[in-house]
């Protein structure tokens, strides 16, 4: 039986008449990495702030271990660690100094604070920089220190906002491995735009848009909802581009066919697509299409995301 560590019940919040979050409910299980996805302005930050007890919802309830969270309560603050997207450090303090300072702001005794700080610096490969001022560190190191700041008071729930943003590949792998090492020991809520990041790390994912929860499930289940099997991308040289005609031509072979204007290609969701490829091509040519280059790839979380939230750019 799963243990629900954090639960939102019908959360709503509006700013100056603008509905940022509307009737949002979700449950986060203990020890899981929970991906929280949505386009810009979807209401992710507002939801996270309400879940952390930083923001009072207009209506609805947040439960932490089954107990209602009050705005800014001591229990909530001690239980949650937040790593913001921006690097938030005191540039004149050394790595060790600021970790100890933040831990002490959560009432950890100095000895315990120092112990936690040193452990985190070691785990995040910053041990050598312990006595260097944060302002002198590279961007990647600052990002890792930023994560350590959210963990130094030993919270049960960690909220990581775009933890891989602006990182070089080496740092990205290092941070990803570290977050994965936290799973089962801590509950991690990951907000990100990087679908690959969420796909690799999250056990379950929630996608919100316009302040409303669209879907919430495991990444595999969400990808299966979009279409079983693979995606076949067939570029078109000339001739027809009509997705309806293509759907009719491939009926019984493919789940769904769509036309992507930007890449001038047909996207075909189908099981066992490699075996069916000659038949696909024959039927498409017979229907009046002119296939060019063919690519086969697996369904990604990005396909799910785009299907749910659309292709329109958000400000």
């Amino acid at each position: 039986m799963t243990n629900i560590v954090l639960e939102a019940q019908n959360l709503s919040k509006s700013y100056n008449g603008l509905q940022a979050v509307k009737d949002l409910s979700l449950k986060v299980e203990e020890g899981e990495v929970f991906g929280f996805l949505g386009p810009n302005g979807a209401g992710k930050t507002t939801t996270i702030n309400m879940l952390c007890g930083l923001l009072r919802p207009d209506s609805g309830l947040v439960l932490l271990h089954g107990k209602a969270v009050t705005n800014g309560s001591k229990e909530t603050k001690a239980m949650v660690g937040v790593c913001p997207q921006n690097i938030v450090l005191w540039s004149k303090l050394t790595c060790l100094e600021q970790l100890i300072f933040v831990a002490q702001m959560y009432d950890l005794p100095e000895r315990k604070a120092r112990e936690n700080a040193k452990r985190l610096l070691h785990e995040l490969n910053l041990e050598e920089k312990s006595h260097k001022r944060a302002g002198t560190l590279s961007g990647g190191m600052q990002r890792r220190l930023n994560i350590a700041m959210a963990l130094v008071h030993d919270p049960q729930i960690i909220v990581l906002d775009e933890p891989e943003a602006g990182l070089d590949p080496q740092s990205r792998v290092s941070v990803r491995e570290y977050i994965q090492s936290l799973s089962r020991k801590k509950t991690v809520i990951l907000t990100t735009h990087n679908m690959d990041e969420a796909d690799r790390m999250a056990d379950r994912v929630a996608i919100i848009d316009h302040g409303q929860l669209l879907v919430m499930d495991t990444t595999q289940a969400l990808k299966a909802q979009t279409g079983d099997g693979d995606i076949l991308e067939i570029s078109l040289t000339n001739g027809l581009t009509d997705a309806e005609t293509a759907n009719r031509a491939l009926i019984g072979f493919a789940d769904k066919v769509s036309y992507e204007e930007n890449s001038h290609s047909l996207h075909i969701h189908a099981l066992n697509s490699i075996a069916h490829l000659p038949a696909f091509l024959e039927r498409l040519i017979n229907a009046g299409f002119a296939p060019g280059e063919v690519k086969i790839r697996q369904t990604t979380l990005e396909d799910v995301f785009i299907q749910l939230t659309g292709r329109r750019l958000r400000e």
Partner: protein, 374 residues
Amino acid sequence: MNLKRILLVAKKTLVETLRDPILLVFVLGLPAFFMLICYIGYGHTPKTATYPVIVLSHTNKADGLLAEVSTAVYSDGRPNFEVITINSREEAENALKDRRAAALLILEEESDGLVHYTIRGDALYMNFIKASTQLEAVIIPWLEREQGKPERFVLQVKPLAHPRPISEFEAYVPGMMVFAILLIIPQTAMLIGRERRWGTLRRLNLSLLRPAEFLGGLCLSQLVVAAIQVLLMFGAALALGFQNRGSLLLALIIGIILAFSSVGMGLLLGCFMRTDTDALNTGSAVSMIQVFLSGAFFAMPTPVLFTLLDHPINLFDFIPASHSMLALQQVLSGGANLAEVGFRTGASLLLSLLYFVIGVLVYRRLNDKQIFYR
């Protein structure tokens, strides 16, 4: 309220200040530098200066007056005037223009047989105003005696606060101290603005640190800075010839009370500023306005609103700096004790507490509204 968290915030702020060379110069170097500028600008000669005066006498009836002008002295024995001998009117006028002389005294016998006098000088030159006043204090009694009129008054100068001559510089030392302490307003506002710009304010709000504790920590750090500022300025003033007549400890306490009010105002301002640059600019304007309204450099005319415990209270007395200014002047230059400046010190303390409490309340209110996060 958690005292440990307050002390930790204060320590962190002080460490950051110590590691920021620009801030360190602004906080500690500038006040002492102001003192030096004041010393150079106002000069270190005593305020009871001996004024060079040219006398052009066209009558021998005024020889007695001339003798009195030449021998006029202050209570400490310093001569009031240095009489310069010049025979030509043109040369005398040039000396006035060049400010080699503060005033030109012309003595003539009129047809009525009486000695008439004219004092000429540059009305924009402060020394002329002072010299002419002192000349009249000698001339008028002499003329009345000559005309056989009974002496109507005897001028006796008994300084309230300065039993010895003090220089312009010494007179402005308390004002400069007030000026420097008021610079804590932009400093404090800047600290909040900086935490906001860095996003660290949000990090602190995520922790168990309460708004009052955060502001308490900032306040404590700024009071330590203020104490060092006052001591540095005092040291600089002493090194430049300022002779203190009062208790340094009492002056320090008054300075710290003023710093407390400045911190309160800084906190209040900081709540509304989005960045440290905004905070620094607005805070500087607020402190400059207070410098002038408090009378640190010249008295501002304002009607008395009411009387409290025999003390007239005017509009600008709602600024803590007004009381601190008077108290510092009376302690440093006049040697006043705590009982003598008790009312002013108490008023400053009460107003400082008021501003600090308002600062904390506004900060908490804005914090609750999440204004800091948007």
